[in-house]
């Protein structure tokens, strides 16, 4: 009777474990970053979290902060945004009759995706190349321009636009012509060459500019749970929907891991039950087994023969559960995911490998136990 409990327990445990492994893999495949990665990395701007309590504190990143960020294994590189400490007014002139205070930012060239050569400025140049965020262009085109009767621009036509940048500070004012040279998907601000802002900060307000309040990080995977944990621990802020998948993934994987642990527990309990059953079986046949040994049967031969009886059981259990897992997975892929190509309809080789490992383990443990018991006779 206890034998059957053991079989059922082992089957359920194995089934649970294998299903969880396959689900874990599925979650990984499905919740990968949707945005096609350019050059294989994710770029994420992070800021320090501003809460009600810490409003008066500084929210800029120190050199130490940046160094620490760079050191993390899941972060490939990081660079601070430099911003203008002086006032800049942008005017569109006749084509674009509006004026506005603007904020300009600069960052290390390596981090800019649509870097048009050349993107340089040196002291004395009147023209400042500007890269604007494609989000802003869209915002302008759809929300701003129609309401004010202003012309709309395409990504190409906006490069013909020249904006006047009036910069002022304690040391006077100066005008520059801003030339929009490209739009960026990656950076959601106005970008100018670092050299311009550094010069401007020194020239207009005699400083190195305000300390950076925003850092751009380059990571292999925006959804890496470790990255998210780091951001959370340091109270940094990352654009929520860039990390949505990551957070969902963490939760799902935690649930699945919990179930898997439960599966492992069941397997262990089943094996314990089997060992009790084996001990009982051998104790019942003790006299006969002892007599066999007495008349010359080899203990190792007997161990092999007795434990061999269990091999068909273990093999059946593993094969049946593997087939069920394959069935579940195929059904999931077919009915829930609607045959999406993101998931293979076949179970992952790792699941098969784990099943094989469990089979070898069960047979091995069984044999060792039988041997131990027989040698004690």
């Amino acid at each position: 009777m206890s034998k059957w409990f053991g079989y059922v327990g082992l089957s359920i445990g194995v089934l649970l474990l294998l299903c969880c492994i396959q689900m874990y893999i599925n979650i990984n495949s499905l919740l990968k970053n949707k945005n096609p990665k350019k050059d294989g990395f994710d770029y994420l701007p992070i800021t320090k979290m501003i809460t009600d309590e810490n409003v008066p504190n500084s929210h800029s990143f120190t050199d130490a902060d940046i160094a620490e960020i760079k050191k993390q294994p899941f972060i490939d590189d990081a660079a601070p945004f430099i911003s203008n400490g002086f006032v800049i007014k942008a005017t569109g002139g006749t084509t674009l009759p509006f004026t506005s205070d603007v904020f300009l930012e600069a960052i290390n060239e390596k981090f800019i995706d649509t870097l048009p050569p050349p993107f340089t400025w040196k002291e004395g140049d009147n023209i400042v190349p500007v890269i604007i965020s494609s989000d802003y262009l869209e915002l302008y085109n759809t929300a701003f321009a129609p309401g004010r009767d202003l012309p709309q621009f395409s990504e190409k036509s906006i490069t013909a636009l020249l904006i006047r940048l009036d910069c002022e500070g304690v040391n006077g004012t100066e005008s520059f012509r801003g030339n929009i040279v490209a739009t960026s998907d990656r950076i959601n601000t106005f970008i100018v060459p670092e050299s311009f802002l550094k010069w401007g900060n020194r020239h207009f307000v005699n400083s190195n500019g305000p300390a950076p309040n925003k850092v751009l990080i380059r990571a292999k995977d925006a959804n890496d749970p470790q990255l998210l944990k780091f951001i959370q621990e340091k109270n940094y802020r990352i654009n929520k929907d860039k990390t949505l998948f990551g957070r969902i993934k963490s939760v799902l994987q935690a649930i699945v891991s919990g179930l898997a642990a439960f599966g492992v527990l069941m397997i262990l309990l089943a094996l314990v039950l089997f060992s009790f059953y084996l001990q009982l079986m051998i104790a019942r046949s003790k006299e006969n087994l002892q007599l066999l040994l007495m008349i010359g049967y080899s203990p190792s031969w007997l161990s092999k023969t007795v434990s061999r009886k269990w091999i068909p059981v273990y093999v059946s259990i593993i094969f049946v559960t593997l087939a069920i897992v394959a069935g579940f997975h195929w059904a999931f892929q077919h009915f829930v995911m609607k045959d999406s190509t993101e998931l293979s309809p076949f179970i992952h080789p790792i699941v098969v490998a784990v099943a094989a490992l469990l089979l070898i383990l069960s047979i091995g443990i069984n044999y060792r136990l039988v041997r131990k018991l027989l040698y004690k006779l």
Partner: protein
């Protein structure tokens, strides 16, 4: 192949009982082809002696040396080989599988290391008068029949030594003669040594050496 006893003595028998023995605390060699008769009154350790030689017990001082190796150094696998190929025994308490048939009991032994072909069993059981019991469970046989089964079982393997511990206690004279003849034939065929322990000298046994335990 020879068995040598070096000062073999059981730890649980008093010194006085051992002092006069021709076996205990002696240096003895059993050579191939010998027919040894051990005469042993009750309580002298006759069955213990057999168990020592067969490697079932080791509560003794001294050594039992088989082929220049003390059997105290054997592990479980060594003993398996020892009992399968070199030493056969008829236990005083028989030790048959009572639930199995006579034939099954004999086959269990024979298939381990067959010396005879299967049909030889039929001839032997016939010779000792238990052919009719071949397919009956051992527990339905009389003690005398069971003794004969144990004897035939012991002859199903190769051996250099045949240990017999009061093998004929429940056989009448005629059957004793038949059994003894069979065993001597089998031993001669293998050029093996017989060591027979009994309460007194055994009839129909052509012993070459007699020792008082």
């Amino acid at each position: 192949m020879q068995i040598r006893l070096q000062q073999l003595a059981p730890t649980f028998i008093e010194e006085e009982k051992i002092s006069g023995s021709q076996v205990w605390k002696n240096d003895i060699v059993f050579l191939p082809g010998e027919k040894i008769q051990i005469v042993a009154p009750s309580g002298s350790g006759k069955t213990s002696f057999m168990h020592f030689l067969y490697g079932m017990r080791n509560d003794y001082t001294g050594a039992v040396i088989y082929d220049d190796q003390p059997i105290s150094s054997f592990d479980a696998e060594d003993f398996s080989t020892y009992r399968k190929q070199y030493v056969s025994i008829v236990f005083q308490d028989l030790r048959l599988f009572t639930e199995q048939t006579v034939l099954q009991n004999l086959e269990i032994k024979r298939q381990l290391d067959p010396y005879h072909i299967e049909s030889r069993i039929g001839a032997m059981v016939k010779r000792l008068g238990i052919a009719s019991k071949l397919n009956k469970p051992c527990k339905t046989c009389s003690y005398g029949e069971q003794q004969r089964i144990a004897i035939i079982r012991s002859l199903q393997q190769p051996f250099d030594f045949l240990l017999l511990d009061e093998p004929f206690s429940h056989l009448d004279d005629a059957n004793r003669k038949l059994a003894m003849e069979l065993m001597e034939e089998e031993a001669d065929q293998r050029k093996a040594t017989i060591i027979l322990a009994d309460l007194k000298k055994t009839d129909h046994y052509n012993a070459t050496k007699t020792l008082n335990l």
